[in-house]
């Protein structure tokens, strides 16, 4: 993974996403191989590696003895930070937690607890932030706010690793994606290339006639009267197709172009769909 990237880690349940994160975070030990965070080996140089890393765990865990502010102060101290209140206040503000600063963790709703988990991962301003299924069971409003905040962190130079079941989230945010299956990487590429190389473009046409001109590129998937659905490999083929329609004097009544969908790529690569 490159510095400053917004990186997606996708795969079906049991693919090894959380295990991989646990190895990087030092919560689990790899049977073989090595993991490094910003060049720091997670075992040999664990102090530096862990300072570089902020992890938002998947499970909704909390310590029922403390308030939100106490939780965040303690977490700062675990990283050797004293007088971190200015940053704690800022993080709480962005995550809309200020009103709950002195509330006991036990009294918070699930969504609020999730926000505290995010705040805890950020107290030491880590250059690398790992979000393990951050929006599972989170309401729409929080999800929106969370993404805004994470994208801002990314713009400010933080590298983000995201695992998610919501493919549209990965598609919307991640510049590069690794797909895991049974502990192995089955694809690792930019989101654009992954989508381009696997699905192509879905072109839907409503024409003024029920026959297509000769030599149109792509593959005809459906034809229903004057409506057609074509699968094109890329945008060059789209240009060619439009040129041939024009030369054949065909009038386009309606046209829709569907970009490839990560779900399709995902299903094909992980072999859990047709």
């Amino acid at each position: 993974m490159e510095e400053g990237e917004f990186f997606g880690l996708l795969g079906p349940n049991g693919a090894g996403k959380t295990t991989l994160i646990n190895v990087i975070a030092g919560l689990a030990r790899a049977d073989s191989g090595a993991a490094r965070v910003m060049g720091a080996d997670v075992r040999a140089d664990y102090r530096r590696a862990r300072r570089m890393l902020g992890v938002v765990p998947q499970e909704l865990v909390f310590d029922p003895f403390f308030t939100v502010r106490e939780t965040l102060r303690l977490q700062s101290g675990y990283y050797g930070l004293r007088r971190n209140d200015a940053w704690i206040d800022e993080v709480m503000h962005h995550l809309d937690l200020t009103g709950k600063a002195d509330a006991n963790m036990r009294s918070l709703s699930g969504g609020m607890k999730r926000r505290v988990l995010v705040a805890q991962a950020l107290v030491h301003k880590p250059p690398v932030i790992v979000l393990d299924e951050p929006t599972a069971g989170v309401d729409v409003e929080l999800r929106h706010g969370l993404w805004q905040f994470v994208r801002r962190m990314n713009r400010d130079g933080h590298s983000i690793v995201l695992t998610t079941h919501y493919l549209e989230e990965a598609e919307a945010h991640c510049a590069r994606i690794a797909m895991l299956k049974e502990g192995r990487i089955v694809a690792l590429d930019t989101t654009r290339n992954l989508l381009g190389s696997f699905s192509g473009l879905d072109l839907r046409l409503h024409l003024d006639r029920s026959a297509l001109p000769e030599g149109l590129p792509g593959r005809l998937l459906e034809a229903d009267g004057a409506q057609f659905r074509l699968r094109l490999a890329n945008y060059a083929e789209l240009e060619d197709a439009l040129a041939r329609l024009r030369r054949g004097g065909v009038v386009i009544r309606e046209m829709e172009l569907h970009p490839p969908d990560l779900e399709e790529v995902f299903l094909r690569l992980t072999g859990s769909g047709s």
Partner: protein, 251 residues
């Protein structure tokens, strides 16, 4: 605050926040022992010359509170964190296994001393007691609490459920403390039981602690101190090895 101090502070905050349960309850229990055993046995047992039975009982009860509470603090805190999953916050941080160990044990010692101090303060209302050599008493309290805090860590690391920690407490710690001579002098026991008592490390802690109050003991205090210290070193190095390996903490 540095990492060790923060973790230690967290552990202290945890027991202060529930001090009715962690301090007041054990103090009441000790007081009940004093009232019941003191009433029942006062005048029937003369253990050391010129020492009333209730006076004899007090240091034993104080030390029993110190030991049991030190064990309870580290074991219950860690097993709860493991079960609820919030131990992850400590494991994610750049905290070494040595800092982790020290924080839990120091907090356990603090809890042991606070409860022991409260038991002593309360029982002094009922019993007149002179302290012969306070530094001896303090040394045994510190080392004993350290040893039990360390045992509590082991119990919590190895256990996966609260029942397992409770079993360790009920079947190992409680019998060993009750059979350590809190309520009697081992000289009043049949020879076989006297021999067996010498194999119980808790006996040396209680006996040595009592020496600090009366200046008399069943076993030479310096030898007791050496035995307790050696036990602490052995158990600590085993615990550090366990923590270093990440056993049942980092998978």
């Amino acid at each position: 605050m540095n990492r060790f101090a923060t973790l230690c502070h967290k552990e202290l905050l945890r027991f202060f926040k529930v001090s009715v349960q962690t301090v007041a309850a054990p103090v009441l229990t000790s007081l009940l022992y004093l009232v019941i055993f003191g009433q029942a046995l006062e005048g029937r047992l003369a253990i050391y010359e010129g020492v009333r039975y209730t006076a004899f009982l007090v240091p034993g009860l104080v030390m029993m509170s110190v030991l049991q509470n030190a064990f309870a603090n580290s074991s219950s805190s860690l097993i709860q964190s493991k079960i609820t999953g919030n131990i992850v916050f400590v494991l994610l941080a750049p905290i070494s296994y040595g800092e982790f160990f020290a924080a839990y044990v120091v907090a356990a010692i603090a809890r042991g001393l606070v409860v022991g101090g409260c038991v002593l303060a309360v029982t002094l209302w009922f019993v007149e007691l002179r302290v012969h050599a306070p530094l001896w008493a303090l040394a045994f309290a510190l080392l004993g609490a350290g040893l039990l805090g360390t045992l509590g860590l082991i119990a919590a690391v190895v256990s996966e459920k609260i029942d397992q920690v409770a079993a360790f407490q009920n079947f190992v710690i409680v019998p060993l403390t009750f059979l350590s001579g809190v309520f009697y002098s081992i000289h009043s026991l049949p020879p076989v039981w006297q021999q067996l008592s010498h194999a119980n490390p808790f006996f040396y802690m209680v006996d040595g602690f009592r020496y600090g109050f009366f200046g008399v003991s069943d076993f030479p205090p310096l030898a007791s101190l050496a035995i307790v210290f050696a036990s602490l070193l052995a158990v600590s190095s085993a615990t550090l090895g366990l923590l270093r390996s990440g056993y049942k903490l980092r998978h």
